[in-house]
Symmetry: D3
Subunit: 275 residues, 6 copies
Amino acid sequence: MDRLQYSHIVAAALAEDLGFGDVTTDSILRDETGCAEIVARENGVLAGMPVVVEVFLQIEPALTFTCLYRDGESFNRGDVLARIEGPVASILKGERVALNFLQRLSGIATKTRAAVEMVAGTKAVIIDTRKTTPGLRVLEKYAVRMGGGRNHRFNLSDLVLIKDNHIRAAGSISEAVARIRRHAGFPHKIEVEASTLKQVKEALACGVEVIMLDNMTTAEMCAAVNLVAGRALLEASGGINAERLHEVAATGVDLISMGTLTHGSRALDLALNLL
Amino acid sequence: MDRLQYSHIVAAALAEDLGFGDVTTDSILRDETGCAEIVARENGVLAGMPVVVEVFLQIEPALTFTCLYRDGESFNRGDVLARIEGPVASILKGERVALNFLQRLSGIATKTRAAVEMVAGTKAVIIDTRKTTPGLRVLEKYAVRMGGGRNHRFNLSDLVLIKDNHIRAAGSISEAVARIRRHAGFPHKIEVEASTLKQVKEALACGVEVIMLDNMTTAEMCAAVNLVAGRALLEASGGINAERLHEVAATGVDLISMGTLTHGSRALDLALNLL
Amino acid sequence: MDRLQYSHIVAAALAEDLGFGDVTTDSILRDETGCAEIVARENGVLAGMPVVVEVFLQIEPALTFTCLYRDGESFNRGDVLARIEGPVASILKGERVALNFLQRLSGIATKTRAAVEMVAGTKAVIIDTRKTTPGLRVLEKYAVRMGGGRNHRFNLSDLVLIKDNHIRAAGSISEAVARIRRHAGFPHKIEVEASTLKQVKEALACGVEVIMLDNMTTAEMCAAVNLVAGRALLEASGGINAERLHEVAATGVDLISMGTLTHGSRALDLALNLL
Amino acid sequence: MDRLQYSHIVAAALAEDLGFGDVTTDSILRDETGCAEIVARENGVLAGMPVVVEVFLQIEPALTFTCLYRDGESFNRGDVLARIEGPVASILKGERVALNFLQRLSGIATKTRAAVEMVAGTKAVIIDTRKTTPGLRVLEKYAVRMGGGRNHRFNLSDLVLIKDNHIRAAGSISEAVARIRRHAGFPHKIEVEASTLKQVKEALACGVEVIMLDNMTTAEMCAAVNLVAGRALLEASGGINAERLHEVAATGVDLISMGTLTHGSRALDLALNLL
Amino acid sequence: MDRLQYSHIVAAALAEDLGFGDVTTDSILRDETGCAEIVARENGVLAGMPVVVEVFLQIEPALTFTCLYRDGESFNRGDVLARIEGPVASILKGERVALNFLQRLSGIATKTRAAVEMVAGTKAVIIDTRKTTPGLRVLEKYAVRMGGGRNHRFNLSDLVLIKDNHIRAAGSISEAVARIRRHAGFPHKIEVEASTLKQVKEALACGVEVIMLDNMTTAEMCAAVNLVAGRALLEASGGINAERLHEVAATGVDLISMGTLTHGSRALDLALNLL
Amino acid sequence: MDRLQYSHIVAAALAEDLGFGDVTTDSILRDETGCAEIVARENGVLAGMPVVVEVFLQIEPALTFTCLYRDGESFNRGDVLARIEGPVASILKGERVALNFLQRLSGIATKTRAAVEMVAGTKAVIIDTRKTTPGLRVLEKYAVRMGGGRNHRFNLSDLVLIKDNHIRAAGSISEAVARIRRHAGFPHKIEVEASTLKQVKEALACGVEVIMLDNMTTAEMCAAVNLVAGRALLEASGGINAERLHEVAATGVDLISMGTLTHGSRALDLALNLL
């Protein structure tokens, strides 16, 4: 992730929180300098430290920031994740925005890591969806990677994904795929959403690269895996929760997409303490 | 909430999701028109319908949008919340972004409503915090109101909130308050964070309008309520979950702030179905 | 005031003035370096020096800027306020924009200081209004503070201010206040505009924090002060000019708001001289 | 003036004033519709009505706006300048921003008209300077035109203006002009700042189109007019106030530039009344 | 192509060309209405009409625009491509910007069409590159499609393209591909740049989807086609001009990328005539 | 050209090309540092090096950039134009955008230089037009200057240019000029488009500064030069290609404007090689 990709997101978040200025801090503090720590209040996986650095540097370039953990690393309750030194007023002004980013992104990374561990030993890869927070997709997809997951398509121009509505409009899967081949660029893989084995067969016959098994039972997924036999990637999708995750992974699907990684994760409990 | 406050948020979300264009839809659909419904797949409280309207109108002003429920209303699983008519391609292009907004905001409203109902019969008011998604604060605080909650301060320039770090920097609560009175404008109320009864007393002696009872036990809160006896508003804050909510409300505090309303709520399950 | 709050204002001002480039300077100068001074051509109070620094640094980070006076300090005709060293071309390109900011803001600070001195010895505090230059409110309210005044609300989301039109729409002051208490957040103080003593009484009975005495005579203000007896803050407002200022302050009102501080002040006479 | 030139200025001004929403109006009003008038409380010349229309339409496209006076027209105290009908809440939300624009711009037009009338009967044209409010130059220069004045250059890329610092850097006026002729484009006229008759002669010898008589006495100006005898435009500049205006115009100069038109004018007294 | 994708590009172009206003048109014209035509002064293929519509509507929503040809259609010298009715001043203000877009984009479409026709009868598809004008990529790639070409990747996040520098950094093609498989998402196809048949073999052995034949001779390309035998797409790239185009297509490659479509095309000769 | 004028153009170009990140480079490279050279693959004139520096510094401030040629200098095939040292990943991410700017701008400078050389020995100056790439005008006009040309007006607010449509609307050249003199500011020169000698005479009689000879034959131009005899600048315009250039220059016109400098130039062949 490059700084160019999130510096404007940070600037907007700071403007939103700062308003016409931090009336409390500006009234009470002068030029005091000090040191603060970002501390974990529960176990988790870190994501978002470069964003936190950006938050504090946009407020005050003179702050010194030391990362003690790197994104993607696990930490335990009580661990000190980073240290910040410099003007106390600047630390206080950035605290809430910095934590809002770090807690959310680490929450996603932590939830992803848990899912990844649940499918360990299978070939299934945990992937995300486009069910991300408006405006924060680049950050949330990064957090999924830090948790050990991989990314589904970033947006509508990335990968062709033929859904039920497209199939209905075209009349059939094969007609939909034919239209794609006439109009879309060669760089795009084609994925087709299938909710029955018949549709899986039709998609496979069209030579698509990926088939999404939409809201299928575990038994249907097994049948699809046998049917396809490696000739296309298979993505399990739709309401797959923690309980069902291992069972789904055991069917032999290649990818398991989980919207809940981004839209259902909660902020991790982290704090910033002035020393 | 005025359209001026969220139209740029919607524009950014659409740009993020559209990328260089919806390669699938543009390859398969032409000028077909159709009708779609937004349907609830679980019970909840609605928030965000004006944002959804904005999403679709930015894509295609010719779309017709009919809201069947209003923000703040409860709905049940299976209810049709809105109807959209017009070019199918435009409906499909807006679907994901519209749902990302509506599911998140309705999730917040629903969670807030549940908390509000748990404190029914007490005088406690459920309020939010600044623990919101970067860039979406105006929408998330609106969703809290739609759920029946009220808003804490919007940002750092809104209300004076003297926290432990400010107190330490000033030396005492009274010195911190004195500095505020010398520098801040008259429009600001002053709130002081207190973690002991001694601090509550000191804050009360300074004549502040609001006192935050930070991470206190229920017994301590009762004592604070008795001590203050209506001379300041009391805000209960810190780790107050559903189990403890009624008990805290019963102490007689005026406000209960819950960061989890915004940073811990999950997206509600809603769908857009083409008819 | 934080740099984040005005750096985009400076960037827009420079773009406005630079257009497609300074055709005169770029044709005549090469890499000459030099030194310039900002000099006062009349007495006044300084405001805006950090903005001037931002102007020059956005043009050329290699410029060295030395402030000889700080914002809020008084200076006399002939005083050197700041010194700039570096490429002469860059100094000339920033000159007009820098002075446009500094002259305007120092004009406001100087006018405010004069008003503050006129009410010395009373408890009245001089405050501003929302009658500021579109786009420059954060700077102009800062200049008022540098002159020794205090700020009224920053914008419409800051403080509840119930004006005559709101009262008419609600039917009465008490109904208007009741609606506020039902809908607005606890962080907001409530101010009511009153143009008669009867309205002052009604507002007081509602327990509002601030009452604006709108276009009252000095005698009416005295009566209002006696009536309220410290139970609410009283703001004198409406056509209060220099002649009447001391008399109004002597009535015992707490606040005197003057739109003229921002919309009626003239630019102070300052110059930038190359040495 | 085209709408494209000021719609973003209006949007920024509304965002600045609206903050997180008009808490007072949104709590008290619902869907009431009504009618308001913009009324003059003193005599003046109108400027800025299209900007006011833009303010209200950005808030609520359903508002109906009727201009009763056009920009550039004179009005008297008590005149109704415009009428607005529609949702009262929207009228109230736009009131302050609309007036801030209209009062400032009409103030400039009024001050300009007064200056123009003072030089009536001479050939002198009243012009503005670059001493405008940062961010509002396009509007303020428009207001000068509405008052009957004309515009000096808009920015640094418009017209070559060789000032004393440029002359010093080049060594002489003729060397400075020579460098311009080598580097600048043919579309630019050249103006030279002269503070002595000797410099006027040197500039004239270089064939420049305009000569600025900088801070000269009336006698010096007369001499310059005789010397130049129509071979270049002559601009009188520097500290020309109302008292001296007619005398300066009578010297026969072509242009009189007055920074005070924009940086020294006060807001005209206008009000918005709900009927 | 959706309007959301280019409306901000149009706004920036208009701001750039309008500056502080069209001084000529605003001085000469009042409210005259009229009719204009966009006329071809040479043969070509149209691209960019929706952008032209956007240009004129941003200036004046009251203009009526009638497209007589659609993007992708061929036209002959003398053909009328579109008709515009409304205020003449608005037509004149938009003329240059509208033509700048339409001439450039139609130039690209025309050049692409010529290349496409030269490879008719072969299976080769003409594609573009990332050698586009900064800021206009979405428009230029659209123009290529209108000319009958297809698009290579839009940007660096679209398709994996392993170039010589990446191979060198990884040590070998197979190591580079292995790293991609470990880190990149499944939606991405992988393309490898090969300048020798040995590299083609290595890439093929890695199972990549596309192989770029970089600056190969026609004979080498033939060998590569035989070697690969349909197991990967082959892209011919590097210095392929019109003379060599048919010969290259005849080798049996799948894709021929031509940077010159976008960076080497000239503006088509089109004019706007007022009737 | 000041950095303020192009840094936002560079930022937009990088965002366009980077998308959600360089998936290839980020998967393959880690922290390797290296050195790259920008090399000429054909002869030309350099323009755009400061823009290239900006591209790389926006990606990674730690990169070291050494310019070996300066803008405006000629170079030969094989020459190394610049050297870049630092993280290889950052060099690769900026490569395409940097070259897209440098190739285009150097192409313009090279084409301009050729035209300038063709008119050597005459007094004709080669100038550009407003036929520039939307969004890049400031850069392309700079490139023309680097090639030895001069600039025509930058935009519609720069110079009065009365075209045939304006003349028709006004009724005559003299009426059009009269309206300009009534409304436009004194800083603007007036240019009139003339397509016949009669119009040249009429324009001359009005005392305009510049007359554009629109699509005249060489003989007509000679006649115009004799007629005007230095009393106005004469600009030859309209379809002047390389073959005719010297002949036109020899007529004695002052200016020759060529739209093809910007809209007809191709990208110069430059490459970035990692060492």
